[in-house]
Amino acid sequence: MKSAKFDHQRMVTLEEAVAALGSADGEARIMGGGQSLGPMMNLRLAQPDLLIDLSRVGGLDGIEVAGDTIRIGARVTHARIEDGAVPGVTGAYMQFVASGISYRSVRNRGTIGGSVAHADPSADWPSALLALGGDVVIAGQDGERRMPLDGFQIGPFATGLGFEEILTGFELPTLGEGAKCGYYKVNRKPGEFADAIGAVVIGSAPRVVCGATEAAPFRVVAAEERLAAGAAEISVADARDMIAAQDPGFDDYDLQIHAVALSRAVGRAFA
Amino acid sequence: MADGGATDGKGIGARVLRKEDWRHLAGKAKFTGDFQRPGQKEMAFVRSDVAHARIVSVTKPAGFEDSVFTAADMPGMRPMRAPSKLPGYKGADYPALAIGKVRFVGEPVAVCVADTRAEAEDLAQATVVEYEELPAVVDMLDAKAPDAPRLHEDWDDNLVMETFADDDFSKIADRATVIVKREYRMARHAMNPMEGRAVFAEWDDRTDQLMMWTSTQVPHLIRTGLAEFLGLDQRQVRVIAPDVGGGFGCKALLQPEEVIAGWLTRHLEAPVRWIEDRREHLVTGANCREHHYFVTIHATPEGRILGLDCDVTIDAGAYSVYPFTNGLEGAMAHGNLPGPYDLEVYRCRTQTMTTNKPPLMPYRGVARPGVCYAMEMTIDALAREIGMESHLIRAMNMVKQEQLPFMSIAKKHFDSGNYPKSVEMVVDMIGLDKIRAEQAAAKDDSRLIGVGMGSYVEQTAHGTSVFASWGVAMVPGYEQATVRLTPDGGLELRIGVQSHGQGMETSMAQMAYEVLGIDPEKVMVTHGDTGLTPYSTGTYASRSMVMAGGATARACRVLAERMEIIAAHLLQCERAEVSVRGGKIVSGKGEVSFAEIGRVWYLNPDELPDDVDQGGVEVTMGYRPEPDSGAFTYASHACKVAVDIDTGKVKILDYAIVEDCGTIVNPMIVEGQTYGGATQGIGTALLEESTYDSFGNPGASTFADYMMPGATDAPHYRIDHMESPSPFTEYGIKGMGEGGTIPTPAAIGNAINDALKGIGAEVTETPFTPRRVLAAIAAATQNRQGDAA
């Protein structure tokens, strides 16, 4: 079970990296920690012709608070977040999410940027960050641009990134002390990809996400309205209706566990 | 015979072609140097370039301190110690790496480890050893001087050991009116197997064992020695002798390099190997023969030899070798000097001296080439003295067939044979009368023809009691063999001896065939691996065919009984009605193949009888001849030479051999062993010499200055066999691996002296180089001129 052949280029600047994406013949992929891409390449499910290695590119592993946003570099590892590198309530929420991602030895290599760019529907960050809201920071040939997390992921393994663009980081809201966060992941074994995710962040306005679907994670509108109206819990039965209303194509069991995840995420937010 | 061997010519006596040949012919044999392991390191040695000195300091190359090891850097590695119970024996521990002092040129002082041999040699070259030189003891006779320097400070002389036999000569004085005195020397040389010594060591964590592939004749002895000197349990050592490119004795002993490799691989946690190069071999392997004799024969005018009086000196080098010590040569000389002759009185004193040369090792023939040479040359001198053909003296004085078994004056228990007959036969073969006529008719007085012969008895496969009497560290007992029937009716045969050219993978299979009638093709002979084979002291002393062959026969007979029990059940008949015949178990009611037995035991045990031996179809059995005083092979060699008295060059014109090694297992192999041995004897007689200058520096460290016998030096041998089975051994087999080397120097020396008898010259020192021949002629001419004046 060995990867197919590919070329490997180590980049020193983002500009080089973007240029390499453009000039590559065949499929070029950005390699962050490689913890998602690595297994797929060993299984030959992914066979890029060129891997662009960003490990030497500066400025991708910073964490800075600037007013009401926290800027997090794409190359920040899950392990750093788990160890509390992100401050405040936002950090506490992200710390909880990070600690449930795979295993420590994977978290030491895996990066938040890689995870979101890879856009595996069952991964944690796409759902967790969607609940937080904020922007994705993207480098391209015309320099840097931002894209809201809302709508960034458009399907399984599909995002709004252009072919010649690189995800360089995130700008996330710094949640106030009063903010409430709840995250509930249904799986059978710690570290496994999720069977269902419920993510709830109540900052300025409630954001409720149903994740680990066949497609992209989505916000559950009815649930957000219910919470905005002051509710402090959502029953499983109600959650089933709310999710079903958005027609995610679940069978009864999937609908059930996503509803339970949502209901229990709300429970955790108010616990 | 009770055994079930069929008689279609694959058993004892058959000229079976060798099973081991093809891998060598295909270049696929695996010698120690052919092994590779990941991360393996190469060893190279810093060796002493002085014969005798104190080590003042060893300076390692800067930056490589961890890659160079001296004895001080190797805790837990003990000097090799080879004890002996012989009275007065002084054994000197042999340190694998020199401790404090060096005692011969080439002695390992430090070992260097690197990824390649070249890099390791770089380190050796860059390592500086400062010596405080001491006067060297180079010659064994000088070594006896009271004021001679001492090799070993704690000794009060340089004497390793003395033996005495001292009969009263007065009782023969009135009859023994002819007294012939001579002095002889046999030079030191090297054994030179084409594959030098080689060691590959690796620690196997899975079995918690030191794995050592080494070019040895005695894997089980090496295992025991390594365990002893590295402080390991025996179970922690596995020694494997893979294909071995010749041994001839120098691989029958534990080598410093083996101990060092064992220590290094364990402490470096990496495989290490050392492949001896030819220069290393010629310098550190200059370790055989080197005897000196004063011989006096007391005889009647009719040529009856009544008494033999001899002082033997043996140069044993600096240390005692494990396990056989450096006293073996002296003890053997003492016991074998009288040869096949029936004497009345025997006085013999052997002195084994320690010198600043490599430790003496038992080379093919062990001492007997020296004693045979001294005795046989003196017999010819007697013959010339009394004007009688020497073969008549030999025949007259030899132990007669009707006297056998016979206890010789040196306490050798001769078993069987007809010694004088071998003399008569070889005289016929060489055509003595024709040669005499040719000599008489000779016109050319610059090319003199001579004829000479040599006879000997060789004690082979001598067992427990003999070695015990020498009190060495390793006494052979009951030789073991394991036979295992395989599920398809084939046979695995495991023996602790080691085959390195003797063809045992074939001859041992012939033994199994003789007992079981199983095709040698279906017999796999496994040897040379302490992990796979039962214990054995190994291959030396011409013992393997007698001992391991005997054990194989015994084990096969037990296996036959066990198979018969199963077969009787399958045939529904009585145990007594079945017997092994021709690779089957047969009875009046039908027959069962070995394959059928294998199938039932392994695959369908539900068909086994209740009285089956639960030990199954794998048997380990042992064997020792009774008595174990040895089987005595003997032979007479005769040769015809031409001596060019202008150049001193000697040419062998004809060479005849009559030998008797009892029952012959495989004539092709027996003849091969004899020819090879005789050619090594020619090397000893005419060519091979490890010379030393007065400081103990070796003068022959390449094949440019060390002469090996080549195709042009070896004659077309003519051989004839006598076959007197030994009454003491399985099938009457006697050992014969060494014999070929024994009488050659004597036969050639006698032929030269026969050629020179007109001049009155005699050669008395091997090798008989042109220089020595011319010197002898010059000396004789001077004497005559002296007489004339």
Partner: protein, 155 residues
């Protein structure tokens, strides 16, 4: 081929490797450090766990080229390491291994637990071990061994 310079068990190593060569195959087949085992080659079983710059990583899904400039420690590189010495003894005494195949990765992960989480309790230890599969022991001996080392280190 890509050139690669790194430290393995304290030794400087330079090599030319195919980019597709995994770090695990590099240490095993090129450096002959076979203590690192492959159990799944997709990052789940943990048998291939080694330290990169002191942190445990999956060598099967980390390409050798990604280890350029790092310090790698494999199971062969812990001979003078106190926590590992304690863990080895504890694994031995608690029968924390049967076939031994998961053991090297298990030990590297265990070392991370006892050093990073000096106060871990049984539940935490089990949670942290979730990324290392053992098919023989039922994890009982392994968990007990790690807990006993944590206890010793607290004393």
């Amino acid at each position: 081929m890509t050139e690669l310079t790194l430290k393995i068990n304290g030794e400087d190593v330079t090599a030319d490797v195919e980019p597709r060569l995994s770090l695990a195959d590099f240490v095993r087949d090129h450096r002959r450090l076979t203590g690192t085992h492959l159990g799944c080659e997709h990052g789940v079983c943990g048998a291939c766990t080694v330290l990169m710059n002191g942190e445990p990583v999956r060598s099967c899904i980390t390409f050798a080229v990604a280890a350029d400039g790092t310090e790698i420690t494999t199971i062969e590189g812990f001979d003078d390491d106190d926590p590992m010495t304690m863990l080895r003894q504890a694994f031995h005494e608690n029968h924390a291994l049967q076939c031994g195949y998961c053991t090297p990765g298990m030990l590297v992960a265990a070392r991370d637990i006892v050093t990073r989480l000096p106060d871990a309790d049984e539940d935490r230890v089990r949670l942290e071990l979730a990324g290392n599969l053992c098919r023989c022991t039922g994890y009982v001996g392994i968990v007990n061994a790690i807990l006993s080392v944590i206890e010793k280190r607290q004393a």
